[in-house]
């Protein structure tokens, strides 16, 4: 009897599971745990988007513990694990990315965009990367071993939105099994923006262009800041209802902040609520780092295409700025701020500023780059709206 109990305990060790002796577990779990540790290393030692990658990495480790059943249903008791519950509560339903987007809205200052609205076009141009990567995913599927359908391709494309909650929202709706690699790619490349963008920016601009000084931004009144989120919301409601969950929650957070009469709500959105949801969202996303959906050529394809998306978005943003200078030479735009249109707030705007100061240390581009930077958030949400409206219809 005591022997059988010891045997039971031994058969319930993780070691036993890693050796593939329990159905549903195997060496793949061990590999994924190592991937989780690598994410923790990148987050802690390298400072890659630590809030998200620490939680995603830890979620990946916990979810891959054999017979831990933390992100699945325990077949013996029928109980769901705690990360499974969090996933069902907030990712499957789309609630967590929406709540994060409220907090992002409450943290965002659209002032620079209101002062120079034409930078919205830079935020539009940089979304081209999304669709290039989408097409790339479909093309890569011709290679044996890689296989993406339209849902997967759209989710991969949205990595190019350079916006975590948008990517998670779209992928959760269209291709939840790919949530792990897509979220990791999105946050990793956002952290790598200072490495990915500068060479592209330098290659596409001349020395003279990089020296362009922009006119000082005009002051923006409080009333304009209050009316702006309402304007965007109205446009979105009239033209693209499928984008309203994302755009609406962003603008809700922003209005609560800017209206000045609900500061305690704005403060909670930015802090307690956002932090709680970030913890839950990170762990849940990490739980989608399953061996069966991660250890295949598709993941390599996703990582490659994510890079393509970022690179193309950066490039089209810069080129759009050069085109705008051609069309309206009286109000010159430094093309270096075009790359900030990918979003990745505020990192991409800082990169614009830094590259600009390489040529002229007295040229302060940061505030100018914040315009396209926050425009990129709106642009990605609009692109997400198109994908969410059209892809299910095409697949029907």
């Amino acid at each position: 009897m005591i022997g059988s109990a010891f045997n039971q305990l031994w058969q319930s060790t993780g070691l036993f599971g890693f050796m593939g002796m329990v159905e549903g577990f195997g060496i793949g779990n061990l590999v994924m745990i190592i991937v989780g540790f690598i994410l923790l290393y990148l987050a802690i030692a390298k400072g890659f988007e630590p809030l998200l990658l620490v939680t995603i990495g830890f979620g990946c480790i916990l979810s891959n513990v054999p017979m831990g059943y933390i992100a699945s249903i325990d077949p013996n008791s029928g109980n769901p694990g705690f990360i499974k519950m969090l996933f069902d509560m907030g990712i499957d339903t789309g609630l967590f990315p929406i709540l994060i987007f409220m907090g992002v809205g409450a943290m965002t200052d659209f002032g620079p965009l209101i002062a120079n609205p034409k930078t919205l076009l830079l935020g539009a141009a940089a979304q081209v990367g999304i669709f290039i990567a989408l097409l790339g995913a479909l093309a890569l599927s011709f290679i044996p071993g890689i296989s993406f359908d339209l849902y997967a391709a759209a989710s991969i494309g949205i990595i190019g939105g350079a916006d975590g909650p948008t990517a998670i929202y779209v992928t959760g709706r269209l291709a939840p099994n790919l949530l792990g690699p897509i979220a990791v790619a999105a946050y990793s490349y956002m952290a790598l923006v200072p490495i990915i963008q500068p060479p592209i920016m330098r290659a596409l601009t001349t020395k003279e262009e990089r020296l362009i000084k922009m006119q000082q931004l005009r002051p923006v009144s409080k009333l304009e800041k209050i009316l702006f989120p309402l304007t965007v919301l109205t446009a979105c409601a009239i033209l693209l209802p499928s984008a309203t969950p994302l755009v609406g929650s962003l603008m809700f957070g922003n209005l609560v902040k800017e209206c000045g009469v609900a500061n305690r709500l704005s403060d909670t959105m930015q802090n307690a609520l956002m932090n709680i949801v970030t913890i839950f969202l990170g762990l849940s996303v990490g739980s989608k780092m399953e061996a069966s959906h991660f250890l295949n050529l598709n993941t390599l394809g996703i990582l490659l295409l994510g890079m393509v998306a970022f690179a193309f978005g950066t490039g089209t943003g810069v080129l759009m700025a050069k085109l705008m200078n051609k069309l309206d030479p009286k109000h010159p735009v430094n093309p270096l701020i075009g790359s900030a249109g990918v979003s990745a707030v505020p990192m991409a705007a800082r990169v614009s500023s830094k590259v600009g100061q390489e040529s002229d240390p007295q040229n302060f581009l940061l505030m100018h780059a914040m315009g396209p930077n926050v425009a990129g958030v709106i642009g990605s949400a609009v692109a997400a709206g198109v994908l969410l409206a059209v892809v299910p219809f095409m697949m029907a």
Binding site: K118, Q127, S221, L227, L239, S353, M367, I378, M394
Partner: protein, 92 residues
Amino acid sequence: MVFLAQLPKEQLIAQLENGVILMVLGIATVFVFLTLLVFLTKGMSAFAKKIAPQKKPAAVVSSPAAATLSVSPASDADIAAAIVAAFAKSKE
């Protein structure tokens, strides 16, 4: 490494066609929407100026010193540090 089953060629071509359509549609929509937003924002600003003509600027956004997203409010420690610094300075 798991090798995934391949989709049949006709389906791959069909979805590539869909992808091209999606690209055209998506890029067009994004540009139309954000271009429209340029005009709406300008209109909104004009409207705001009309109903509340301001003398003093409410907020100047171009100063490089203010050039960070106000992502985190000053912590307690920051406040304490600021006071201590102010205090120390006043003793000079």
